[in-house]
């Protein structure tokens, strides 16, 4: 995602939630996380599933604190 790289290059940390790891990986994201059970159209969580969405956002933001090598897409399950 070019916009992610541009934001990061300007000095703001970023985290990407992706359900298309192959496509996202090609863009070499600084930080990315893939919720394994989520699908295209609802990367954060199903419509109306506030609890799942909340967990995804908390997990993704938590990844800001726990850096791994840039370019690696981490996976997690709800």
């Amino acid at each position: 995602m070019h916009v992610q790289r541009a934001i990061e290059a300007n000095g703001i940390p970023t985290i990407l939630i992706t359900v298309e790891p192959e496509q996202s990986g090609q863009a070499r994201p600084p930080r990315a996380v893939q919720p394994l059970d989520h699908r295209l159209g609802w990367p954060v969580g199903p419509a109306g599933a506030a609890g799942v969405q909340r967990k995804t956002v908390m997990h993704a933001l938590g990844c800001l604190l726990d850096p791994v090598e840039p370019g690696i897409i981490r996976t997690f399950e709800d």
Partner: protein
């Protein structure tokens, strides 16, 4: 500064989340219902979403994924309500005053690389934002 494709720009996160203001950037085609929709055959433009937006005033326009979930609940792709809840609970420090939507599908990638992405990055840098959460479709 031009970065090679192989190089990965990286900025360490040096704050507590409970003190950090978070912005959203999505390529899921998010925009205000009052804003011009994206062109389905490709669009390199972006839409500004104010931090105090009501979720009910947002929608998506995108031709390359099933948008039914996002149209039913924008938080499926753009978790603005979840951020507000996390702010109220003290998990994050704040919700940024500016967020951005794009469609993420265009045949004019050069425009995205040379114009759209740097412009969004500049605007975020100038707004009180400590970290950005990005989502695709």
């Amino acid at each position: 500064m031009e970065l090679s494709r192989r190089a990965i720009p990286y900025t360490p996160f040096a704050k507590d989340l409970s003190q950090a203001t978070i912005a959203l950037v999505s390529t899921a085609g998010v925009h205000l219902k009052s804003q011009e929709p994206y062109h389905l055959d490709g669009d390199s433009s972006y839409r500004e979403v104010p931090g105090d937006v009501s979720a009910a005033d947002l929608m998506v326009t995108h031709g390359h994924y099933d948008t039914s979930s996002a149209l039913q609940d924008i938080n499926a792709v753009f978790p603005i309500d979840r951020l507000r809840e996390l702010q109220r609970e003290g998990f994050i420090g704040g919700v940024a005053p500016l967020h951005f939507g794009m469609m993420g599908y265009t045949l004019r990638m050069k425009e995205v690389i040379d114009q759209t992405a740097p412009e969004i990055a500049r605007r975020i840098e100038r707004s009180p934002t400590d970290a950005v959460l990005l989502t695709g479709g």
